[in-house]
Symmetry: C2
Subunit: 326 residues, 2 copies
Amino acid sequence: MDDVARRAGVSRALVSLALRGSDKVADSSRRAVLAAADELGYRPNLAARNLASKQTRTIGLIINDLHNPYFPGIADGAHDAVGRFGYRLLMNSAFLSPRDEIAAIEMFIDLQVDGVILTGGMASSKAIEHAARAVPMIVVSRPLPSSLLDTVNNDDYLGSTMVVEHLIALGHRHIAHISGGPAAGAPQRLAGYEETMRAHGLERHVEIGAFTEVSGVAAAQRILASGRAVTAIFAGNDLSALGVLDVLDAASRAVPDVISLVGYDNTSVAALRHIGLTSVEQQRHEQGELAVSLLIERIEHGRTESVQRVVTPTLVVRGTTAPPPP
Amino acid sequence: MDDVARRAGVSRALVSLALRGSDKVADSSRRAVLAAADELGYRPNLAARNLASKQTRTIGLIINDLHNPYFPGIADGAHDAVGRFGYRLLMNSAFLSPRDEIAAIEMFIDLQVDGVILTGGMASSKAIEHAARAVPMIVVSRPLPSSLLDTVNNDDYLGSTMVVEHLIALGHRHIAHISGGPAAGAPQRLAGYEETMRAHGLERHVEIGAFTEVSGVAAAQRILASGRAVTAIFAGNDLSALGVLDVLDAASRAVPDVISLVGYDNTSVAALRHIGLTSVEQQRHEQGELAVSLLIERIEHGRTESVQRVVTPTLVVRGTTAPPPP
DNA sequence: CTTCACTGTTGAAGCGCTCTAATCATTGTG
DNA sequence: CACAATGATTAGAGCGCTTCAACAGTGAAG
């Protein structure tokens, strides 16, 4: 920076101001500084800048599982929003391990990021709240009520009722649900299913599974083995729906002619033509954007009371749902 | 840090040494420092540490496209290796934009990371080489020969010959290839296909596409429309294979009974039971690990001559390949 | 005893920036 | 023409750590 100052014939302080676009720098000096910096190939050292200014204009995003096609949409939204606010994004993954998840949060805190977005995740709420004391934090796609942090979630209950209403409107009466058990959002989806079925006076049929392909396979096999005349299956998420799809295929139950199938999350796999799974879009892009703007409120306007935002999902109808056979 | 020093009854310098596990700290002092740090909940400021020590023990990983299921495997490998070397990983995405890709690299340089791993990517080799002058860099899964950086790639030529040999061994003679055009690795896969076909005296049938689902759809339609008696299709990657699968399905050409289909990359989608696509595993975990250790060689042992490592792929046979119909 | 070689510890000088308060230059005002 | 007001610039302290050279303290060797 001294070199740039010398070359531009100004002081180091002015170089600092000019480079950050201060309006109290004369146009002539600004041009001289910019030219000198360019000629010297000067790039400011962020560590020094962060240290001196005590802020990084950086937001840390922790992706729970890189292999899960659900999360990239959130990252996209965050990326777009962050750019608008003049911040930058730094990412890390929890690599599906609560240990690594906490390590990622702590690393961001040590790096002095201005805020942290945590997606999904399995770390204990105690550990997360502890971290939230050290940095503005928002948890996305995991219902985690806390007075210390904000949350953004899709309305899983509503999304679930939309699925069931769709199936009922098609004429289905025997609809089974494969629940994700205790996984994030699963209880809400289960509740939506149960309430809607009850409201329509229909009998419920729930299999407890998980949000994985194999659990979908197992649950589908149990449903077939039960002998009950199910005409539609509402899987807790897309991945388990794919497991179901495979079982139905192997058992020669045509989808959707004999059995309709619905997933949840509207992941890229569901959108593949060859799969064409009816699913629920959680507005991930919007969730990501919302997370950033809520974080900025805390960072720049010092908000401290916690906010829980809910986003409205939409049903994406594809080829796996149709009226039941006569 | 001063607080910790005071509480432990030592100097700040010794706190620094103790916290970093120096062996020239008396056990008693070390315990005192650790206890004091713990009681005070002290966490060192990384910006300050990086600034003072001029190293970050951090490696930056740039994922070309978060939506592409190919990349997480590399990240996993890098994550594992980085831990073994006592470094930490920081990630960013190129969000499929050459602009953002360069921005991500520059951000890492500004943050003074010790090394950068670039996966895939579309930035110009000139821009990448320019960045490689500022920080040790390695490019993974993109053939980019340069004396300024290292590369790790899967042997696409070999993988491609393995696919063709597999199909020929099954009895296929009329094998079409859908090329990824100029995409990373595509020319090598094309060459492997052409050479192997030629070596066996078989006629080649190449459709130029891209590494996307829609391009697979278009190419498959062209193949069917050509009227040539193709019994096997080797798609350039899994995604385009899925497009092919859908077209074959719609045209009632049973896979693999009538037509065999092979992809490339062995992504998680190929592994889904319902898809079960025969594909080529690029040893992504190994590529990620290798990238880190090559980077460490540059960082810690000052290696400057460039290294190009090639990893041997393996064929993963699943349900989409079988002997051709009689 | 003195000397020497360690081991353990510390004071102080930076690392490369930002930011406050002070200074300098210029213009407008009475 | 002095003076205030405004705008542009700068000196220098400081951010929280590392690191180097210097310094005690200790026990072995002479």
